[in-house]
């Protein structure tokens, strides 16, 4: 296993406290960053090849540079801690075990984008992470780290998956229904409260302090050619040791499954969801893929939030799709038509198939409906649903047909 960067403090007692964090080099990055020009910080992050770890994999330094230079009003930093992608449970550990790493990352990011106010939007179900993080924010205020030109507002969500979509999150933060916004304008131009806004994932920002202290080149060297660093893979399902594993993004899926103790239950691998529920499924033959953004992309899937769900031979793919289809039909925000209408329709069809009342032409209908809606919606939610709809049926059609009556 590669050096642990993000989880470096996880095994220490009271790792969530300011004292322990500082004892092991915490806030050294901030001390260094406050001597640096904002432009230099943005450049450093660009050089590190850090890519967003929330799902979209967008280069973080490039995102920061989109704030209009001519803007004179406030700029906001919004932290997406609404971790809701099925199979993903990494940010909760960061919030619980190393909350000061996020605060330090926010301080540095805020300096880079000239921001005086940050919001941390925490998933409503994450009670303990919220408590730990809020306590850390208080410690940081008491220690004078916050309140000296940068403030943090902690906001709890109320349990909607769509509020993890960055503009849905912003709508919710503004006090509105958590509907994604029509783009353009993009958040970096007009985001929260109509001001330029950078939305970053928890894990992404936790990478910032080590980048500043140890240098962009070091960080870039930890990963692949197009993505620097390590990341935290949430490995669950039919593996012997389900857990969060931090490793270089250059690891292959096969190696990652081995790291998690190998396949459990039947011991024979059937399929893997490599990047959270919205990632197209991979068959047992497709696991020699490099687990970085571009590796998964070239394999026809996506790394997403790096939630790895392993399915062994005894698992039912149609039932797995039913779980996801129910999820998307429940969580679609309902704002735009293709997603609102097809998620429900597809769920009904999958449900009917699993219940033994399906027809083979339902499978063609599902794939066709999914394709027709893909790329037509306001946000990426529906494209995320389309990946499983199509890939599960295409790669495991026989299993679905076996359930159909005609």
């Amino acid at each position: 296993m590669a050096e642990r960067v993000l989880m470096r403090n996880f095994d220490r007692a009271s790792s969530h406290t300011l004292a322990v964090y500082r004892e092991h080099g915490g806030y050294a990055g901030w001390d260094k960053a406050r001597q640096m020009e904002p432009a230099a910080l943005v450049e450093e992050v660009k050089q590190s090849n850090l890519r967003g770890l929330g799902g979209a994999g967008f280069p973080t330094g490039a995102k920061w540079s989109f704030i209009p230079k001519s803007h004179t009003g406030p700029v906001y930093l919004v932290v997406n801690a609404d971790e809701g992608e099925p199979g993903t449970f990494k940010d909760r550990y960061l919030l619980e075990k190393d909350p000061h790493a996020l605060i330090e990352g926010m301080l540095i990011a805020a300096r880079a984008i000239r921001c005086a106010l940050g919001f941390v939007y925490i998933r409503g179900e994450y009670v303990e992470p919220w408590r730990r993080f809020s306590a850390a924010v208080k410690e940081a205020y008491d220690a004078g780290l916050l309140g000296q030109g940068f403030d943090i507002v902690v906001h709890r969500g109320a349990g909607a998956y769509i509020c993890g979509e960055e503009t849905g999150l912003i709508s919710s933060l503004e006090g509105k229904k958590g509907w994604p916004k029509v783009k353009p304008p993009f958040p970096a131009i007009k985001g929260a409260f109509a001001q330029p806004t950078i939305v970053n994932n928890v894990e992404t920002l936790c990478c910032i302090p080590p980048i500043v202290t140890r240098g962009a080149a070091w960080f870039a060297g930890l990963g692949t050619k197009t993505q620097g660093g390590t990341r935290m893979y949430s490995v669950s399902g039919r593996v012997k040791r389900p857990a969060v594993y931090e490793t270089s993004v250059s690891i292959t899926l096969r190696q990652l499954i081995e790291l998690a103790g190998g396949v459990s239950h039947s011991g024979r691998l059937k399929a893997v969801v490599p990047g959270g529920g919205s990632a197209p499924i991979l068959t047992a033959d497709e696991i020699d893929v490099v687990m970085d953004v571009d590796g998964l992309k070239s394999a026809g899937s996506m790394i997403g939030s790096a939630g790895v769900i392993v399915l062994d031979e005894s698992a039912s793919i149609p039932e797995a799709l039913l779980v996801l289809a129910r999820f998307y039909a429940h969580e679609s925000c309902g704002q735009c038509t293709p997603c609102r209408e097809s998620t429900g329709w597809i769920y009904k069809m999958v449900h009917r198939i699993v219940d033994g009342h399906g027809r083979k032409d339902d499978l063609d209908t599902i794939v066709d409906v999914a394709r027709r809606g893909a790329g037509t919606t306001i946000c990426a939610f529906y494209d995320g649903a389309v990946g499983p709809y199509i890939s599960y049926i295409q790669k495991f059609r026989g299993e679905f047909e076996g359930l159909c009556r005609s």
């Binding site: 503004e174 029509v182 109509a194 429940h330 679609s332 209408e341 998620t343 009904k348 069809m349």
Partner: protein, 548 residues
Amino acid sequence: MPKLTIDGKEIDVEAGTNLIEAARRLGIEVPHYCYHPGLSIAGQCRLCMVDIEKAPRPTIACNTQAVDGMVVHTQTDRVKETRRSMMEFHLINHPLDCPVCDQAGECWLQIYYMKHGLYEPRMTDEKVHKPKAVPLGPHVMLDAERCILCSRCVRFCDEITGTGELGIFNRADYSEIGLFPGHDLQNNYSGNVVDICPVGALTDRDFRFQVRVWYLDTTKSICPGCARGCNVDVHVNRKRPHHAGGRRVARLKPRFNAAVNAWWICDVGRYGFGDVDDETRMTRPQRRVEGQAVDTDWGEALGAVADALRRYSPEEIAILASPKQSNEDLFALKRLCEHRGIRQLAFRAPTPPAAAGDDFLLRADRHPNTRGAELLGLEGDVAGILSAAGAGRIKLLWVFEHDLLASGWPIAETTAALDRVETLVWSGANANATTARAHRVLPLAAWVERDGTFTNFLGRVQRFRAAVEPLGEALAGWDVVGRVMTALGAPAIGTRAEHWFRELSKSVAAFAGLTYQAIGDGGAMIAGAAPTTAPAPPGRRADAKVTA
């Protein structure tokens, strides 16, 4: 001024124009549901997809601003296929209850399915069920199953009225339009949500189940409900008189005029036409014989009024015109007074009835032509006329439309004054308490039964047009006065409202140069008046939205 190409045609548009509007200028229709030019961009229905060269996939036209050199295609196979898909998505949970839906015939689901859908339905599963026939307020009924969740009504209440009664509740395909707890859709403009609803989700409680829309005829007109003069279309039912209980005017709909009312009208005006067909209408000339109203004919009636006008000296004659009358009607009275030398001519109710305006379109002055009466110089001494009548100095009083017994004037005093008038002539469309005291009643055509012009409070002269025939033997005001003048031997002016307006524009400076043709459908300002624009809505303006 970006210049772009749409379907091979070039056009210059103002910066900030979106592709739906740019295409519209070229006569190219980009189908859409959620987009409305008076509201913010929602981008929800996803129907307005067009292909833009160099873009990887079709893009929504509503949220895409024209850029110089942009090349847009609205008819590629890919765009057509996308529209077909969007139509299928809009319709899978729709109840398809067109035979019992009031929107049928003017429903954009029907229209676009025929133009852009025409797919074979594939949805065989149970549809989502939602509340039906839910009254949202006094005027609007919701059928949530028919709703396509375009959010126009929600945006209207947020951005135009600023009252925010409506929201979209729940998520996914169980989302539905609804009222916030403790609210009713009861603002002065609630009827507009029915107009902007592209489907049968929001229907008009007044119009519901009255008549199918394909039996309706449309006439361009002006709302007579207040001094704003909102532009309206009058929808009348001539083809199925046995429907709707004989009600000829089925409904009023706002007609876009950027200078007056934009896309909207208030509920006071929208639902204010009920008296056109009600039992108070006067349809025959009448005279009073031994206290009883007896029908007569126009020949006898006009002769008698002409006689009275001749018999009394001008000082014994007074005319109380009405700001409900058209410029043509009022001009005819002005001419009559000039011909006979009558100086006691006025138009205001003794005490204007108390009414409140609002912060948008509705004016406290509920008369359509107060400004016209002022410009024609009809501002006389009403109190003086009534006190002269009380003193027995008025022998002939000709009252138009007013109810002097409900005008705030002391009733006993007014009754006594009217009793002393030898010949009380009352002319109007709908009877009131004063009508019952008149010696002569000359029935006038209602506003929807005649042509004419009103001058709104900002000096905009606007045409209204006859949408139905006058009931019974009712005549336009200018026609009655014109016939009386002919009987008095005055030179004839003409047999159409337009003839009177032509004469009016020649003799009243404010109207100089105006003709029916120049006024057209949109109206024209009186001489020297500055051009107007519709007032800014009190709600959160689309362009002032905190978020896009």
